[in-house]
Amino acid sequence: MMIGEKDKDRPWLLGRPEPRVDGLGKVTGEARFTDDLDEVGQVWGVVLRAAHPHARIVSLDVEEARLAPGVVAVLTARDIPGNPFVGGVVQDQPVLAGTAGAGGGAGHDLDRVRMLGDGVALVAAETEAQARDALGLIRVGYEPLPVVTDPREALRPESPLVHDRGNLVVHHGVRHGDPAVGFEYAHRVYERAYATPRIEHAYLEPECVIARPVEGGGVEVVGSIQNLFSTRRAVASVLGVPLNRVRIRHAVLGGSFGGKDDVMTVMACRAALLARATGRPVKMVNTREESMLESYKRHPYFLDYRAGVDRDGNLCAMRMDIVADAGAYASMSPFVTYRSVVQAAGPYRCPHVWTDVRAAYTNNPYTGAMRGFGSPQVNFAIECLVDEIAEDQGLDPLTYRRRIVFRDGDVTPTGQRLAGHRVSLDEVLARIGDASGFVDKWWRYRAAREAPAAFRRGIGVACSYRGVSLGAEGVDAAATFVQVQPDGSVIVSSGVTDMGQGAQTAVAQCAAEVLGVPLDRVVFLNTDTSRIPDSGPTVASRGTIMGGSAAADAAAQVRARMLEVAADLLGQPVKNLVIREGLVGTGGAEGSFVPSRLTFADLAGECFRRGVALAALGWFRAPPTSWHEETGQGIAYFTYVYGANVAEVVVDSGTGRVRVEEFWSVHDCGRVVNRLGAEGQVHGGVAMGLGYGLLEEFEVEQGVPKASNFDEYLIPTAMDVPRMHVEFVENPDPAGRLGQKSLGEPTNEIAAPAVVNAIANATGRRIREIPATLEQVLIGRRLTRSGLRGSEVARGGEASCKVRGEEG
């Protein structure tokens, strides 16, 4: 950990509730989103999408469309100069599907559409209306193919193949101990099946890009893009040009939540193709309906959990079998399911854990990254299961969890010893228990269940541990560039992008902390792939730890050079000097600070006159991780964060309606960088998590989505969000240069089980499928669903609880 050299553990600026640096522009309308931008001479690009969720394309005739009024270009797969496939992990997604002979390879033929959102042709025209009219003139001949929509069916040998190489996208296994041995001494064995829904990110701003052709065969793209470097790789590959010919920037983003990755990459590739073909700037904007149809979703999971508990109530064996619906393309499925397999057993001590997670191709909308990234599904399952076990053991769920959660030095199911940071889950649970009055309420509401009542109250808890950043998924390093101007103002630019989550404020605050200047002296520039090194994707809640640590590194380099000059000016040794609040001074023990008359601005001016380099590139490489593919053992993530949620609900016994009245969140995210931003993350994360638990499901029938806009796909409104109480347990972690870790996703991953557990406390009934809609809460299943969802078909009955020695 590195703070100022004088006051290692006393940040002067970190933790302050500084207002977000982009806030004013957003409320005044000054902020410019991609759709607010236009280029001189631009044309509009639109996409013809598939008419079937699974079909072979036998003919494709675009001649009539080419002649339509205003049309400048019509492109098909044949017009792609480079690699026609994209994909962050597996290159299996065609930029455009085409007819046979248009290309392909690696077992992913190009002449097929695999989901309704697939693109078949592109049109560029002078106006958007002309471009859309021309779409109707394109003739596509389809030969429909059998559709597979249940990922478990997709894994059976007789299933239709979505990709020729097979429907299995990935299979991760964790083999820790031997559950066969563990179940031998189990006193009770619990077998439960859970299911979680496909959901939509529901970012406010639909996808949008503008691509402009530039000299040398390249393009410049501006868009609502989350992961600029991933997009750059794909655009360069599709155009067949080197990376330095493709420049990607982002405008102000209207939310992403993991959602503006692959879908933006595909859109950027399409716009780039049109820009190269027309020689003109091309703008593409999805309508909300196009966005919902085309964009990837959060994976639906089917989770079979089996847990053995010994006579003392400790978990002695766990066996988990999980299937994820990847939809038509792999996208981030291999990494999403990696996080699931690591965290499936929850933050609980258990000597014997075997977990299998498989992701399967189907003809559903493809699924990929969404806030949580494979954790909300497994957290729902394990947190509901542990809650049920607690009650069965005669304990309240909070006390039971405190008995079995990880503590310092415990070993996770991947064989990783939790060390080098404070394993604070017990502290977090104790805090949330006190704040919410959990134990007393839980017993009271449980007792009240006995009497009839129109409205029942319940309280529920859930907790989690979460690996920070990418873990053993891949390379984990990031850059931030810090420049001090001759007047002492500062420009920070980073490889970490801001999509509304507050990265620019957090990263700027890290730089300001180390430089010793107030935050209002810092300007943060949006990411530009040609001006900052590839810093990986802004995902996995890694912005503050990776971008912020790189900012601290850069700022420390510049500060060191400036202090040399200050030492000369003030006649003090460097080791005595401190910069704070824009003033240079001397620091003593215990963080005391005596300012001199030298300001940071004057010092910067003097450094400039002396030719001192006032800029530096900071680089932060994450500590090492490891992974053994066969056994699923290793240092899965370099450190972890801990959190707990408590929900208090009122259930309407007549209608099944659940009102969440009060909500508590306690997180240990390491050192809090910005308290306002951190609290904002919690509020937003909980609101999204409540939608997941109570309202949302992007239903798809035979590959056809049932909802196309927010009139039918309902997310929580401000009216549905409860009173929130947010607390932080701050244990600075040496993994982050300023002690910071992660918060964005932890806030979102346990709200659903907290609410569902609260419903169980109120009603005595356990819901194992979310969303817990009114019908689900009242009668235990959804009546709107045509046919039963997989888990009900597969099991055909109630979950079982076998008690050793009591079986017949």
Binding site: G654, D711, T717, M719, L783, T784
Partner: protein
């Protein structure tokens, strides 16, 4: 899609004249909260928009000759806040206050809600139970249509092509006859009703229910009266056996479908639950 032509008449006569001259060429619009969405989705393509917002007094609410008369242009927000509506048709005030969100309540109008003829329209069940009539004005003058005869199916009404919905009226019955409205949506705001129930009744001193009217929303192609249920409640005292019989009756009378918002069986069940709550509101209110 070519942009529709647009007219904003300054008087009702001017609006009617435009409509009479080219009945197919104009679609009346006020708040536009339904029509504009349908246009954007390609479900409506009017040749012309006849904007009624420029007609002075089109949304006035007044009481005359023992009737509450509400101009078609009255917004949901106005209905929810109006003291006369709250006194003479509390169910209507409550329903209007639950529609959509503040923005939608500030734009959407009673006339539009009626003309749009959604089976889930929240203002309609309350109008059923207060015995409302809808004024249609055409070239030959005004005719008053009982609310129960106004909608003929989802999105269909008896409004002629040269007619405008100009007003709604119902008896100013004061607090003598009470009414209540209950609805069930997926979330607290911006939710279309899965089921709605309106009830009106006079409660005698001994608790006997008189002049009972019950209407159900979102459980049939149009809002419907639940006459068998009314029969059970008429002359009865609310409680135990009566409540059970009334709930059974209302579940029988509902004819719901399964759609994205709710299942058929759930809707049927909820008619009973909401009926109980609505009647209880009326009975409790009579005691205070």
């Amino acid at each position: 899609m070519t942009a529709p032509r647009f007219a904003r008449p300054r008087t009702l006569d001017e609006a009617l004249a435009l409509l009479a001259a080219d009945p197919e060429g104009w679609t009346p619009v006020h708040g536009g909260t339904d029509l504009l969405v349908r246009m954007r989705m390609g479900m409506a393509a009017p040749r012309g928009l006849l904007d009624l917002t420029g007609i002075p007094g089109f949304g006035d609410i007044r009481v005359e000759d023992g009737q509450v008369v509400i101009g078609a242009g009255a917004t949901h927000a106005a209905l929810a806040a109006d003291e006369r509506v709250r006194t003479h048709a509390p169910a209507l005030a409550r329903a209007a206050g639950l529609i959509g969100s503040p923005a939608i309540r500030n734009r959407g109008t009673l006339g539009g809600n009626l003309a749009n003829a959604s089976p889930a329209a929240d203002t309609v069940p309350p109008l059923f139970v207060v015995g409302a009539e809808v004024a249609l004005r055409g070239p030959d003058g005004v005719r008053w249509v009982p609310i129960e005869d106004f909608a003929s199916g989802p999105g269909r009404t008896v409004r002629g092509a040269t007619d405008l919905v100009v007003a709604v009226r119902f008896p100013a019955q004061g607090r003598e006859v009470r009414s209540a409205f209950e609805r069930l949506g997926t979330r607290k705001a911006l939710a279309i009703s899965k089921v709605s129930v309106a009830v009106a009744a006079r409660v005698e001193a001994d608790g006997t229910l008189r002049e009972v009217r019950v209407a159900l929303g979102a459980v049939a192609p149009t809002v419907i009266r639940a006459r068998e249920t009314e029969g059970v409640l008429e002359g009865a005292v609310w409680g135990g056996e009566v409540a059970r019989a009334a709930c059974d009756a209302v579940r029988r009378e509902a004819r719901p479908i399964t759609d994205l918002r709710a299942g058929e069986a759930y809707r049927r069940e909820m008619c009973g639950v909401l009926l109980e709550r609505a009647v209880a509101t009326i009975v409790d209110g009579s005691r205070s």
